[in-house]
Amino acid sequence: MKIDSIQNGIVLDHITAGKGMQIYKLLKLDNLDCSVAIIKNVNSRKMGKKDIIKIDADIDVNMDILGYVDPGVTIDIIRNEELVEKRRVHLPEKLENVLFCKNPRCITTTEQELPHVFRLTDRDNRIYRCIYCDTKTQ
């Protein structure tokens, strides 16, 4: 399968196979009017299979979402069809409006304008807690 290379934009590489569409939705890439390609189940020496997303535009990607959903993703920055920078994502210390608190006693259930903020409390087990009520992510 052949997909055109991109002129100026970004490539999300090393996406865990099967997570490409989830990342596409979470990053709201359907709102873009440039070319976007989701390539699924690409053969990978390191991962066996992987997904790749190519975006033919220079956009700011929410690194926190990527870090939370799939911390192994790499972001390739392309300029004039050349790879100029490779960025890695990390499990973010804080997530804002990515996760939503399910505790019915949390203040966020009655004050709709409050951002849902979670902080990383256990890196090894990838546990985040609501900053308001300390409820753990499911």
Binding site: N103, R105, C106, I107, T108, T109, T110, E111, E113, L114, T121, D122, C130, I131, Y132, C133, D134, K136
Partner: protein, 305 residues
């Protein structure tokens, strides 16, 4: 400008400083009688409370300050849909410090990040109640002369009991603490407190439903009420409310110097006959609560005496 939302925000050194100040207030009350002249405390209680509210108000009056308040949660602008953030910003224009109780967990935190004056969490849902913990710590300190090397039993509602969660958090930073957790299966201590606080600090703990078996080993017995307002289902409340009742017969099993604490109000989990037992410390706790709130107000308002 500093607030107090969670007891964990205070270092051991700061707790020690509050305890020493409290001892000095008890020894020299006149010295502090005008410490907060001209200052105002706003008590914002969005949930019914007698003890905590009166305690804050008495604390401020004994420091020479004044108190402004709303008659009840129903009379506040919250019933018109005002946000906690707006309430905090508004009250910041009237007072020097806020004490807030709210049924929603995290509400005092939201107030603290929006207010321009210190906010004290006076209880948020089943979450935190740091000033009760300060009262508990002063009581243990005054009864035992130390906050380390103690076997501390918690009995009753360990799931929703915010006072239990806060006291465990505070005591976990001291050495030689052993926790004995006594509750029905449905009201066990949340796993995150066991894991993130007790186990993380390598503290010994025992979890049991057998109150009488563990009673003889306790230095401190912290009784709690099964709180009707924390249940979504009345049947569950009725089934669990009388799980553990401390009676004079059971007290015979306890050590001669075991101190019995309770955050109050009590329903029937401690028999009234225990009140005259010298080991009953729950009314001393009420007094200590006022003193520690005085100590805390002085610290947050940065008042030098």
């Amino acid at each position: 400008m500093r607030s107090l939302i969670d007891i964990a925000e205070l270092s051991i050194e700061e707790i020690d400083e509050l305890l020493q100040r409290a001892e000095d207030i008890i020894a020299n009350p006149k010295k502090y009688a005008h410490a907060c002249d001209g200052k105002k405390l706003a008590t914002l209680f969005f949930e019914p409370s007698t003890r905590t509210r009166l305690s804050f108000e008495a604390a401020m009056y004994e420091l020479g300050g004044n108190v402004i308040s709303m008659a009840s949660a129903g009379s506040s602008s919250a019933t018109k849909g005002e946000s906690v953030a707006d309430t905090a910003k508004t009250v910041s224009c009237y007072a020097d410090v806020i004490a807030m109780r709210h049924p929603k967990e995290g509400a005092p935190y939201v107030a603290s990040i929006n207010a321009s004056i210190p906010v004290i969490n006076a209880g948020d849902g089943g979450h935190n109640h740091p000033t009760q913990t300060l009262a508990d710590l002063l009581t243990i300190y005054r009864e035992k002369g130390r906050l380390n090397n103690l076997t501390v039993g918690f009995c009753g509602d360990l799931k929703f009991g915010r006072t239990v969660h806060s006291l465990i958090t505070a005591l976990s930073r001291y050495t030689g603490i052993k926790f004995v957790l006594i509750s029905p299966d449905e009201l066990k201590l949340p796993s995150y407190i066991k894991k993130d606080i007790i186990q993380k600090n390598n503290l010994e703990y025992v979890q049991t439903t057998d109150f009488e078996a563990v009673l003889p080993e306790l230095d401190i017995l912290y009784m709690t009420r099964v709180q009707r307002e924390r249940f979504f289902n009345e049947e569950d409340y009725v089934r669990l409310k009388d799980s553990y009742i401390l009676t004079p017969d059971k007290m015979k099993l306890a050590k001669a110097d075991c101190s019995v604490l309770h955050p109050l109000p009590r329903v029937n989990e401690i028999s009234v006959a225990i009140d005259n037992d010298p080991r009953a410390c729950y009314f001393k706790q009420v007094f200590n609560g006022k003193i520690m709130r005085m100590s805390l107000i002085l610290k947050l308002l940065e008042v030098e005496v």
